[in-house]
Subunit: 334 residues, 6 copies
């Protein structure tokens, strides 16, 4: 039987007014589902990778709707538990041009946040897994979620399952100090890391601006050395005018590093782009792509997600592979 | 300066899929605001009554949107406090014909639920009040909300302000036993009561079906005697086929009682109809209508609300007064 | 060359909130076009009858949109003039069950209302006409519109063109007294009349309720005699509960009269139903149907329009003819 | 490993204007997916029954969207093949009251219609199956689809797998004569049959109206005898005014028969109701319910589907079981 | 008691098709409310400034909806009168890139246009005012509105209330000649002026292009000298490609002048941006900001409004203050 | 009687999810109608040119809706035939920035595709025509459509009617080899040609990139010579970042050639832009514009269509003429 990539984290319902309205202007909300690890699970499964996702959703019609969203993409939901009453939510006021997008969280005391390790079938979850991916968000939302995450990570390493980790620091969730303490605990168990130079500074309790991408890569090289990661991946975003951005990325191993980019893109939906980069990188690793091919697939996924609404990267494998980073622009296929 | 009717309770954001969809079918949600006491405040203010409403909403863009909904109807929001992070929500799957409407609450740990008496300006809230209205929901959502409600009610009676109370029992919020204990504490402070024979049975710890409206009125007469309410109001709903209902009501005082109805109505939106009855009755009392006129206005408001979408009774005073309970049907005014 | 039915009157843009909302609840409006004579023109043309419609719309993008609505149904718009700045509008709050639909007009000083007879090509308009239809609304909206209507009617009779007229009394437009004076002026020129017993009472300056349809028909017989109409047609509407109505109709000539109905219908959109009856009757007359067949087609059109949204009767000729007044109910055709 | 119910047939995309509009009035279409056997698969799977569905969808983004709809309900789609270019479509003009719903098919030359038996993995499809369900539609859409259906049915019987069959006659697809010939071929292989007295008359080449439900049941008893079905199920629909219908059903075996109903329901969406009855009956049989319990579950599912939009029966097992055929009406659960 | 800023002018209902459609393509219209002075009142009140707005709306459900829009932002509407039948409207076809936005007015004979000075309570309106703001639009829509405006302005100066004025020349409303005569009458009463070099040329009866911002400022300096305004404010707009604009502004007093900008912005909604600049400047003056701080707040408000749909500037005070004219770009806050 | 421009080709219904959604994300589709020759007919007729369009639509409510779309713009539809069952459809996933728009056709076996020459009234179609326009799409969709097109073209030349032709090569419809054979057959009958250098390479069986516009024009000059076209028109599109494009065009005759452009435009809807260029050129020729004026009108139409949603060029003649290729930017007209 084929082994699968297991992901664990919170699934959220995103509620967004249409047409860049503020909440005080709206009378309807668009519903999409997301959450960093769910986003990655959907992309991987949609590309044909065997994928399982574990989370806790409330035992009601809202939780059921969340599960159905995952299942339509083929994600295995056997380890999703249904208990409690509250779905994690977030409200988004989509910005435009100089006006930033504003996120309002309503995820405290959610079913996931309140679930304890014993609520899950930790052993079974990893029984068919070849890989485990988690993120810093699960360390930050509650003591219980952090315990579950750490239990999973440790168990995975015992079983010889590779562990990947995305820092995913969210300033509205916890302080840098709280985060640092949790990061230090988890990093020794991590094989593949996704992060930014900001995370290195957090770990070092430094606060300064770093401008050049090369200098940022240097900081990440030091992190790689400290924890001996198989790989550490990072993205770089140069914000031009009018929602136009230049996107780049890099990967660092003990022996080499590669940069790729930039790709210029006009943003339709920024949310979930980081996750689509992670998904692309994991897909490359899972399919034994070369590091260069992995970066190419990850950057293509990252760039294309900026042009897709919703948290999920729904571009097909063919669309991601067919995207030519340096190629001629095709505007219509008919 | 004119004195106002003060209302206290939780405001909620209602999220509803269009066209009777279940949550698992929906990709958009309609937003309306409600909450029993807010609904009454809006109706009273819209009819020209000076009205103030106190609640606690989160200190974010969701809470602000809720306040703006009240202000547009002229409700005084000076005593609305903004703190905490969570707006009380409820999700509604609108039923149709034989399929009941399904409410899923997400109101635990909301800003209102967690607020304590000291967070409010209780003295100031009643400074310009001639009347205070509260409901059983505020007794049930949390210990703190119950304390605030009781403090307000006691303070009102000290100041000679009339107190009205609506039992508003919600099975998804608390058990009958918990509710009974709270009802027994508050009823001695109540001048005007809104309830049903079910509430009398709850107080008596009885469980039985009562079929005839007259028999139900008898039970309420006994309650009136026990607590010596100025008035106790009640509504009666006979459900015919196809969302068609016969609506009636009654009022009981120490010396008299009146019944009115039925009015036959096809339901567009059931939610908030009970509140529109309360609003109608309070409006009659506040304007020194006779008991018969009060019942007539309250039943007209009750019936018309069934044909209006959203929790708020937005029919104008002229529309309510102009509704002829026994008159010819007018289908278009042009 | 085939001769056409010419219609003259004001075209209006109807703006309606969705889902029975009041105006104060709405943030979007649905746009449909209407106007009594335009509605009839559209139905006749859609059924294959050669039809021309004359009106005046503003010389801007709003007026152009109105013309395009007519053209899509094949109505000849060569005699529609474009001048002035204001389109006649009406806002509709759709009622439900016991709550009546509320119309708010914004048609004063519209392009049509301000146009004078010389603005139109009266001679040319009737050059290819075999029939002229006008209604009481054009007599009521302005002195100029009344002058144009009277000029057309007189010219038609001079040319031997048949004239049909629908009283169409609107209480929000003018008083009964003003209307009566205008009706008395036009009736001598009318060949085929559409009206109700209320119009007879208006002419007689009487005010009383008439309950039975037979008694109403008696009043209309007297009107037929007085003006020697070829035919006078009338409809009868019994309002049952819940938007359910029983629809009947009758025709009266110098020598005979026929009743048809009732058909029971649940109303989706009441507006324009009277016009769809007129269209049905004119279609029967234009195609030399027997009086019985004419009534059958007119009542079928009348009934079906109640189930169609918008002012226009868009049911096909086959749908109207195929409707079996007494037949078995078909709920789906597949 | 648990065995599954296998279903085979065409999946369709339904396109419907909003608010009962005709196609000529519409500028947007709602998308839902359906098809008789897909509808049954979704209901069964949603109720927790292991279910697999085989069909052929085009190898493009439209076909993919169809598959995802099934997967979200947990239906196994391993045997769905993707080839060809055309999705079967149908356009629906939703009727209202006396106006019937009108279906316009666009399914000729679809991927499913053109697929031949060899395109499918017939052996594998039945490898894990305990039951096979097919319908008359697959016999009617093309010679190839009929061949595939017959091959499947024969193979199932060879393997000892029970076969159920729904006549599902569609007048817009084929003539009664063509259908009769195909029905005669398949019936000997059928264990459980779903049909109406009309199908019996078709087989007998008779044409007459049968009014009473008991008389209809007599006709079906004779069919049961002829083919010795384990069971034959039927539904009965009395159309009252205003989209209100009385729904009944019956089951007939060699030794007994039962009737149940009527349930009175106001229709929101008629399409897919027959399939929800079949799903309910199959669920009862699969779970060893008594015949009475099976009828009860099937009629509850049938009735509730009338109040749900879309082709799929999405009511939960709890909602279907909790529906009390004779009970008190509950209008809101909160 | 705190004194308020009083604004007077017409409120309008804006009707706009979605997604940049032309009117001939649309079947729905979005409703937002606006009007130069209403826009300013809403922004000031939303930022916490005590604000009152006087206008005349029709005495119907449309006028009521307009008032409610103001009230939700906390604007005092005690001096809004309700009489007449017509709401001022404007239809907008939103342009895109090289296609300009097209406004079609329907405001002739509106309730505001027809109201005369005696319809208002001029004395009371200014009773609690510390400031009065009016604009050139009110001088242009009718003789009556101009009379009311002039009466208010003169009364304000008598009472020692500061007067601000925005030229707001609209070519579709009146000719340059008509406007010039009215401007000359009002300017002697103005303390704070908002205008452009075009207005100076109008006053001088000159017609020429001025390219450089500095040259434009020179012209405004001369106007400041002529009328001895406390301040004159102006904005400058450089239109780059693709809806991208560079926004600047300046203020001129007897002794100094300051320029600020440019800020580059991609436009979501251009309408109401000038008003949001005025609101920002008045807010700075009312709160004793320095001229530099005032310009900064006004330009931030001006720029942010370009990214907000609708006529109203609904960005919070915190969002305006937090906008860093030269700062790093923040694209999401989470 | 004025002669008309006759166009022949397939009309299609375009179905598009909102807001750049992929098909798997959508639950609603926007409906617009198109087809290369229909698009040109609508533009010409909307600008006041007498225009007739012949096609074949299915004999159902979908085909009728298509005809009505044409009629609203004044296009003569007397030669549209209604037979068969299938409307040609195409589904569009609107791209954004680096993600290309994806077209999925569903037009095989459509009513148009299956119609044979004898189904049309070829003689009558050209009876009142002064011009005939066809495109390569009709040569590619079926043998029958190609036969009809060739019959029409030959008949036109016999009658002395000018023939224009647009290559319109679509890679999803046929191979370059198939297309080449058909092009070689039709070109001798063509007076005015619309094409690109790619078409020249196709005819020559060459495959290479040509970068400069001048070099492309050289290739087209050779084509002009070979077939002695009155004119050959071409467009040039430079794709900048972010949906921004530079648009140019050229015309070549036996004796001269002209280039015009570029115009920079931000694209709202790319589909139908080529047709709007053809319409502009034909309009210039039909109205005896100079070649320079013709190019100017054609390029203005081409550029403006990029800012209009839907396949139809609905910009008015005034808007196209008023567009100043080199002028100052106007962003709002009010
Ligand atoms: Ca709103
Ligand atoms: Ca969106
Ligand atoms: Ca959905
Ligand atoms: Ca609504
Ligand atoms: Ca609203
Ligand atoms: Ca519907
Ligand atoms: Ca339309
Ligand atoms: Ca519509
Ligand atoms: Ca439009
Ligand atoms: Ca908008
Ligand atoms: Ca669009
Ligand atoms: Ca969806
Ligand atoms: Ni946007
Ligand atoms: Ni945008
Ligand atoms: Ni916010
Ligand atoms: Ni409904
Ligand atoms: Ni309904
Ligand atoms: Ni539910
Ligand atoms: Ni409705
Ligand atoms: Ni309704
Ligand atoms: Ni109204
Ligand atoms: Ni409906
Ligand atoms: Ni309906
Ligand atoms: Ni139809
Ligand atoms: Ni836009
Ligand atoms: Ni745009
Ligand atoms: Ni325009
Ligand atoms: Ni877009
Ligand atoms: Ni976009
Ligand atoms: Ni695609």
């Amino acid at each position: 039987m084929m082994k699968s990539i297991m992901l664990f984290g919170e699934m959220l319902l995103r509620l967004t007014p249409s047409n860049h309205q503020l909440f005080i202007q709206a009378s309807q909300l668009n519903m999409v589902y997301g959450g960093s690890e769910a986003n990655i699970a959907v992309a991987l499964s949609n590309w044909g990778e065997k994928t399982s996702y574990a989370t806790c959703v409330p035992d009601n019609n809202i939780g059921l709707a969340a599960i159905m969203q995952l299942r339509q993409f083929g994600v295995n939901t056997d380890y999703v538990i249904q208990q409690g009453h509250k779905m994690g939510l977030y409200f988004v006021e989509e910005g435009h041009s100089i006006r930033p997008t504003e996120v309002t969280y309503d995820r405290q005391n959610s079913a996931f946040v309140d679930a304890v390790p014993n609520d899950y079938q930790l052993e079974e979850m990893l029984g068919q897994a070849k890989w485990l991916h988690v993120s810093g968000i699960s360390l930050g939302v509650s003591k219980q979620a952090r315990e579950t995450t750490m239990a999973l990570v440790k168990l995975a390493r015992q079983k010889g399952i590779k562990v990947s980790f995305d820092f995913n620091y969210r300033a509205k969730l916890w302080s840098i100090e709280e985060a640092r303490e949790a990061f230090i605990e988890i990093l020794p168990y991590v094989n593949v890391c996704f992060g930014s130079y900001m995370d290195v500074l957090t770990l070092r309790q430094e606060k300064r601006k770093v401008k050049s991408f090369d200098e940022k890569i240097e900081l990440l090289k030091e992190l790689q050395k400290e924890y001996n990661f198989d790989q550490i991946f990072t993205t770089e975003r140069e914000i031009l005018d009018d929602n136009v951005q230049n996107l780049s990325c890099a990967v660092i191993t003990a022996t080499e590093h590669h940069k790729l980019g930039p790709v210029r893109v006009n943003v339709l939906d920024r949310i979930g782009t980081g996750d689509s980069f992670v998904a692309g990188a994991l897909f490359g690793l899972a399919n034994s792509y070369s590091l260069q091919e992995t970066l190419d697939f990850a950057l293509s996924s990252f760039a294309l997600k900026h042009t897709i609404v919703g948290d999920f990267q729904v571009a097909s494998k063919e669309a991601v592979q067919g995207f030519d980073l340096n190629g001629e622009k095709v505007i219509i296929k008919r």
